[in-house]
Amino acid sequence: MTDLASRPAQAPEAGARRRRAIGAQRLSDATILLLLIGMIAAFSVLTPAGTFLSLSNFESVLLTASQLLILSCGTTFLLIAGGLDLSIGAVTVFSAVVVAKVMGALAGTAAQAADFQYPNLAVAVAAAVGGGLAVGLGWGVLNGVLAVRTRIPPFIATLATGGIVLGLASVWTDGQNVQNVPLPFQTGFGLGKLFGVVPWPIVIAAVVTAVSWVLLAKTRFGLHTYAMGANLEAARRAGIDVGRHMVLLYAGMGALCGLVAIIDVGRFGTASITSHSGDGLAAIAAVVIGGTSLFGGRGRISGTIVGALIPAVLQSGFVIMDVQPFWQNVAVGVVLLVAVYVDQVKIRAQTRA
């Protein structure tokens, strides 16, 4: 045992000690990364050359993963803080309906749209994007206030708001997908590429991921998120406004749903009522596979990236191998079970220590 007090404090040594401590934690996350690399290697061998392992397939995998990755970033924060949001699929659908309706209504008259003429395109896109984000944010704030004020467990609270929000979206649209999305929004944004190289959805997902990473690992906000998940009372006594922080996390989650809705409408040119019902659970699965604890207090964005990529890699591999892509669900379920089991073993080992 070293005598800490008698050793003079040295800044360089300080940094090295911290990096060592962090390194030890990262080691355990490496397992899931190895799994992903193993999957990629296996598919590369099992598929014809130039199909799975190609730049275009790489791009398509990232494109598939982009929306899940954005939702998973928000979910990582929530789970670490001890929250949970099952309504994110519904909020995404509702926001998408707002985006599509606002854009369709403002871009021009129906006659003009029939001729692919959109005289007010810029205004329409701006209003739709703002509206989608605002509506997502609003539902997020509602979830947060419910979780903080009523003390209804977030599992139930967000299950209920999810049902309400999806119900309202269906009532509003008669359960029909919303069409009439201006074509240029799809060609220019949803299918467009930054500098003609990187698809916009991938760019946005990368930015969200990078910001989340820094926010969680390097800032006061991130540290407080961890503290709340481990010991809410300790966080409160340390002077952290835990109620406000929690509402902010749910609000951010809602805004990310709005962002995903904008991407979704851009990619598919329609607001789909039915295609996002599983998003909430998919995001939770990705985050937990990535090593974030369902019980709060532990997790990292690096793990979440891996967790969000696994379903897309599986899907792509199975499609190219001509295996029914539904096997993806089976595989993700198995990986999830293993991840949670490993997490619990870790917790048990820790409490025994």
Partner: protein
Amino acid sequence: MTPVLELRGIDKSFGPVQVLHDVAFTAYAGEVTALVGDNGAGKSTLVKCVGGIYPIDSGDYLFEGKPVHVNSPRDAAELGIEIVYQDLALCDNLDIVQNMFLGRERRNGLVLDEDSMEELAQKTLASLSVKTVKSIRQLVSSLSGGQRQTVAIAKAVLWNSKVVILDEPTAALGVAQTAQVLELVRRLADNGLAVVLISHNMNDVFAVADRIAALYLGRMAAQVKAADVTHSQVVELITSGRSGELGLKNGSGVTQ
């Protein structure tokens, strides 16, 4: 001498249950004031009122002679009051440095200034002659009870506080670690802080305390100089609320 911390006529109820009745309490700079009382007497509740965790129903709260309103842990911290709670309240998933700075982190622009916090934490532990922790980047979950207590105390000392309140800091500790913590408590007072120590152990109390305040069923039975009373008088105050001339007059709630 003006007490650093003075409470007068504090009442506190939880719903229909009144836990504190007309409690008066003072703590002076450079002294250790022991707060004693049986289980459920209201010691922790009184401390949480001081710390802004529970709002008081009525009564005066004076800090350095001036009336103040403490409505949150942040208010108490801003005055210079630090509390080491009975249940410690550390975050197991954070390391020692992170726990010591929680809620008051140093920043370098937008990101945390880890190196400067680490250095300061190091210095604080060194100034307290803490020699038992291996690395200050250790997770708190890996520490022993005494080490956790030390971290909590160091956290309180870090902030140049004027009042440090410790709720049963030695309850779960062995002989050697208890002696270390008591030594730490004495050193804090000798450095000019007002220290409040809650303890059930009369030996500990008489070893370090300058004054003793005894709570009995939510009422302040007596606050006396430690030199003026004996072990058995304090035990009587704790168990029956009175001892000869000292203490409550037949449940009337009036302090001598």
